[in-house]
């Protein structure tokens, strides 16, 4: 029964020099291809002896290895019932290395599928690499994600923003921080994700519904924030990042150190911390009062790795204080009109780092424990996580009492058990179960915001992938059960009334991927996902300060169900041309949104009310990205993103959807000499159209009309040099270079103030070993 893996040749055919080349910071992509058919070999486990690292080839037959030193590496193909097969590879520089292996038809039968918790499904996706994250360090995670075509932000001025994928945001997007779902997105659109971007080594965005693998709510997409694997060589390593930003005089410092023990090389750890302090930010002509930000984060990882098993403990704390421009809090419709009709900010200010009321103080703690073990079935992974989200809001008071007016706590325990089963002929896949327990609460006497609740959910899923020649098919099913036990304060005495909700839903996905030839591939995904209404949509009954309106929940809301079709195409001429196109259409049944209702009399006059209602929505769009290298030095790129969002029931446009936009850039890269490498200078222009596709009754429900189109110019330059054998990366960048005065439709502050003006950033990164 033994079938042997037969490797005849290893050829290193090609390498492309890439950015970082400091001694032990090589980033290598290994591509495993069958030598006769040139087919990529996916789902093959490679074990690198020198670094004690397991890696699984993706659907392109590739694995990515970071932080390698130049040298010889033994690459095992570890498989059940056979001796390990070893290849010896010389890796000298960063870049792509193609490994061609010849194997019998039965090869894949024997190869064991290994750890792939972060391995993604077939879907349109785009990543920000460590290099791109470095070039944007110091920005919030949402601002960094803007660099991905099809991703925008929904913001509250220059300090709070959250990502929008294909028109959907907040609770319709899942963010996975190191594999754990970030639960703070339950808290509405003015709550930014509490993730320290310095943790990430790569951020991947799955565009479109991906609920089967990642759970309910992933209607719009999934954002995976992935830290680097722990240090592979023995000894110490680390990195220091410094950043300075001109607009709000912000300073950012981040440090990381890691170690693998010499005597017990199975053990390694990493500690990381970052600090950020910024003051009031500036729009063209004016400072914006009380918009400072302070952030203190740290994280620690401890890992124990053996070839067939491993354990990892990760802990992180995110802690920030954000000032809120008090001019955005309006007491009445008249206040809002005054603010809208004023050309300049109604609250005059100078520069200060001091943060007054109103402000948010937010903390997020995460503890994550992961264990993996191989056996005859495949690889088992157990993942337990506890997270605590805490938000305090300090409102402007008549008489200062030193206390916050809201103390919101969300505690979540979650457990996931996943089996990546061994490949059975051409079939690979994973099955798993999820369990989540959640408690949302506040303090007695707090301002009314979200009712307290307990939520319990369980789920089971299976995703199987069938690969033959150039075709890959993937199918997944999932079943979720969610139970809400909610206590809503009602009546003049605000007595708690208990409500129980149960939601049960199956979901499914089907994908096909075809590599037409060396240069061209396409994929298609049919997916279905769902989302239970959140507590605020069910029970909110109060004033929304930003919009000067009263929002009224609806406890009869049904879950949203999404059915989507995504098509993706890729055309690539290596080192020359890259074309990426994505077409999508998504039908969302019971789409929840706010619709204007009757006026209500308050002690501050008559108010507009908005009720949570449901309709059937259809979102259709395109993302197109082209990158072309003219020669060794010049590269240009262009992106286009279009979206049409319809209310199918009313045959009308949906409100608050991103407008069409396009951007283009040019970058010149050169190695000046041995000491000055990777010198670059680049420029990027972005044009955002006015959103003209708005509901017919827009003037009755919102004012003023969406802001005008705008053009922004950004520039950047950087280089790498050696200081006492330590590589040092330096860069300077400028956003909104022309200090353009503009407002953005997806910014809630568009009623009150312009977008931030020019921001010049200086960055320095020093890795050490």
């Amino acid at each position: 029964m033994l079938r042997y893996l037969f490797i005849t040749s290893v050829m290193i055919l090609l390498y492309v020099p890439a950015k970082s080349q400091d001694s032990c910071k090589m980033a290598v992509k290994l591509s495993l291809l069958e030598s006769h058919t040139k087919e990529p070999l996916s789902d093959v486990i490679l074990y690198i002896t020198e670094t004690r690292q397991n890696a699984l080839t993706d659907e392109n037959g590739s694995v990515f290895l970071d932080n390698l030193c130049p040298g010889k590496y033994h690459i095992h193909i570890h498989s059940y019932e056979t001796a390990d097969t070893t290849l010896l590879v010389h890796l000298e520089k960063s870049g792509t290395t193609k490994l061609f292996i010849n194997h019998s038809e039965q090869l894949l039968h024997l190869v064991e599928v290994h750890d792939k918790t972060e391995k993604t499904v077939i879907q349109n996706k785009e990543s920000l690499s460590a290099t791109q994250l470095g070039e944007n360090s110091g920005k919030t995670i949402s601002e960094q994600l803007k660099n991905i075509n099809g991703v925008n932000t929904l913001s509250n001025g220059g300090t709070i923003s959250k990502p929008v994928i294909h028109g959907l945001h907040s609770n319709r997007i899942l963010m996975l921080n190191n594999g754990i779902r970030q639960e703070d997105q339950q808290w509405g659109s003015e709550h930014a994700p509490n993730i320290d971007p310095f943790i990430a080594n790569q951020i991947t965005v799955l565009k479109g519904a991906a609920g089967v693998r990642y759970g309910t709510d992933a209607i719009g997409g999934v954002i995976l924030v992935e830290p680097a694997a722990v240090r592979s060589e023995k000894g110490w390593g680390g990195e220091i990042n410094l950043g300075a930003f001109s607009n709000n005089k912000m300073g950012v410092v981040s440090g990381m150190m890691e170690h693998r023990f010499a005597k017990t090389p199975e053990m390694s750890f990493r500690l990381q911390a970052s600090v950020k302090q910024g003051g009031n930010y500036r729009i063209p002509g004016y400072w914006i009062a009380n918009t400072g930000v302070q952030e203190r984060n740290f994280s620690g990882t401890f890992a124990y790795q053996k070839p067939h098993s491993g354990a990892e403990i990760f802990f992180s704390r995110f802690d920030n204080t954000i000032g809120i421009y008090s001019g955005s809090h309006t007491g009445s419709e008249q206040d809002l009109k005054n603010a809208v009709n004023s050309d300049k900010p109604l609250i005059a200010s100078g520069f200060t780092y001091k943060i007054e009321r109103p402000r948010q103080e937010v903390s997020h703690h995460l503890l994550r424990v992961k264990g993996t073990q191989d056996n005859r079935l495949g690889v088992w992974t157990v993942l337990y996580a506890f997270q605590n989200n805490f938000r305090q809001e300090y409102d402007v008071l008549r008489v200062e009492n030193g206390k916050p007016q809201l103390n919101l706590t969300l505690n979540t325990h979650s457990i996931n058990l996943n089996l990546d089963h061994k490949r059975i002929r051409n079939l690979s896949g994973q099955i798993g179960i999820d369990g989540v327990y959640q408690h949302n609460t506040f303090k007695n006497g707090d301002r009314i915001f979200i009712p307290s609740y307990y939520a319990y959910s369980t789920a089971a899923y299976a995703i199987e992938r069938y690969t033959k020649m150039a075709w890959t098919t993937e199918a997944g099913v999932r079943f979720d059960y969610k139970h809400f036990d909610l206590y809503n304060p009602e009546g003049t005495q605000l007595k708690n009334v208990r409500y129980l909700f149960d939601y049960k839903n199956p979901s499914a996905t089907l994908s096909i991927k075809n590599k037409v030839n060396k240069r061209m591939e396409w994929n298609a995904t049919l997916a279905n996902a769902w989302r239970a209404p959140q507590a605020s949509e069910l029970f909110s009954a109060g004033f929304h300060q930003g919009g000067a309106r009263i929002e009224i929940g609806n406890k009869n809301l049904k879950p949203e169900a999404s059915y989507s079709l995504n098509l993706g195409g890729k055309y690539q001429i290596e080192d020359k041309l890259n074309i990426d196109i994505a077409l999508y259409t998504q039908f969302i049944q019971n789409f929840i949104f706010l619709s204007p209702g009757a006026d209500v009399l308050t002690i501050r006059g008559y108010y507009k009310t908005f009720n949570y209602v449901q309709t059937n929505a259809q979102l259709t769009g395109t993302d197109l990205a082209i990158s072309y290298s003219w020669n060794k030095y010049f590269n240009s790129n262009a992106q286009l993103s279009l979206l049409r969002a319809r209310d199918r029931n009313k045959k009308d446009w949906l409100i608050l959807m991103p407008s069409d936009r396009l951007s283009t850039g040019l970058k010149y890269t050169v190695d000046l000499n041995e000491k000055l490498k990777d010198c670059f200078i680049g420029m990027q222009g972005q044009y955002v159209l006015r959103q003209t596709r708005i509901p017919e009754n827009f003037d009755q429900i919102d004012y003023p009309r969406p802001p005008a189109a705008y053009f922004l110019l950004n520039a950047e330059a950087g280089l790498q040099f050696s200081l006492r054998h330590q590589p040092v990366f330096c860069s300077i960048s400028a956003s909104n270079l022309l200090n353009t005065k503009y407002r953005d439709y997806m910014d809630i502050f568009r009623y009150f103030i312009d977008q931030p003006g020019t921001n010049i950033a200086l960055r320095m990164r020093v890795p050490f070993n």
Binding site: Q334, N338, R398, I415, D446, Y456, I550, V600, L601, I603
Partner: protein, 191 residues
């Protein structure tokens, strides 16, 4: 092989049901409406005419609720061409006992300002405000003032309380700036 799957699945399901079975919190927290204002009272008097009356404008749920609750809006009935002494008081009548917020306003009088408007602005059914009280810095507060009635007719008298006004000399909400804490409109009958 199968046993192992079943075993692990069982453990995980047992775990989730255990945490689901945790005791319910029967005493879920109860929120409170912060700094609620439900009522504005205006006391008008004229000693030579022996007149003293208090008119009430009350919205039971104050502000921030999906509905107003019980509403009481008195009509201010006055004689033409008379000067009345006016005193404003602000209350939260949802609290028991009712909370008098006027003292808080007087304590932070530099952070508050009452502004007024009359429809029509002059003539039949109009009222005019003068001699408003000052804050600790000598800037307008207007918690007490003199109200002069116009000629016979019907009109409206608007009163707004601005919190943290940006311009204390402002006589309209937009000129004064800040956040509106209170905005009421009394019907006026001059007969």
């Amino acid at each position: 092989m199968k046993n192992q799957i079943i075993k692990t699945a069982f453990i995980a399901i047992a775990f989730t049901t255990t945490i689901s079975a945790c005791k319910k919190d029967e005493n879920a927290p109860i929120p409170d409406e912060q700094e609620l204002i439900t009522t504005l009272k205006i006391q008008l008097s004229n000693s030579s005419k022996g007149f003293m009356k208090t008119f009430v404008y009350k919205v039971e749920n104050g502000f921030g609720s999906g509905s107003g609750g019980t509403i009481q809006i008195d009509t201010i009935k006055l004689e033409p061409g008379v000067i009345y002494d006016a005193i404003l008081s602000v209350q939260n009548e949802k609290a028991t006992p009712a909370e008098d917020i006027t003292n808080e306003i007087l304590e932070k009088d530099d952070e508050h300002l009452f502004v007024f408007d009359s429809t029509p602005s002059s003539g039949n059914g109009s009222v005019a405000v003068s001699d408003g009280s000052k804050d600790k810095n000598g800037a307008p507060l207007n918690q007490t003032f003199k109200l002069t009635t116009g000629s016979l007719g019907k009109g409206k008298f608007g009163i707004q309380l601005m919190h943290l006004p940006t311009n204390k000399a402002g006589t309209t909400p937009s000129a004064a700036g800040g956040e509106t804490d209170l905005a009421v409109n009394f019907p006026v009958v001059i007969e």
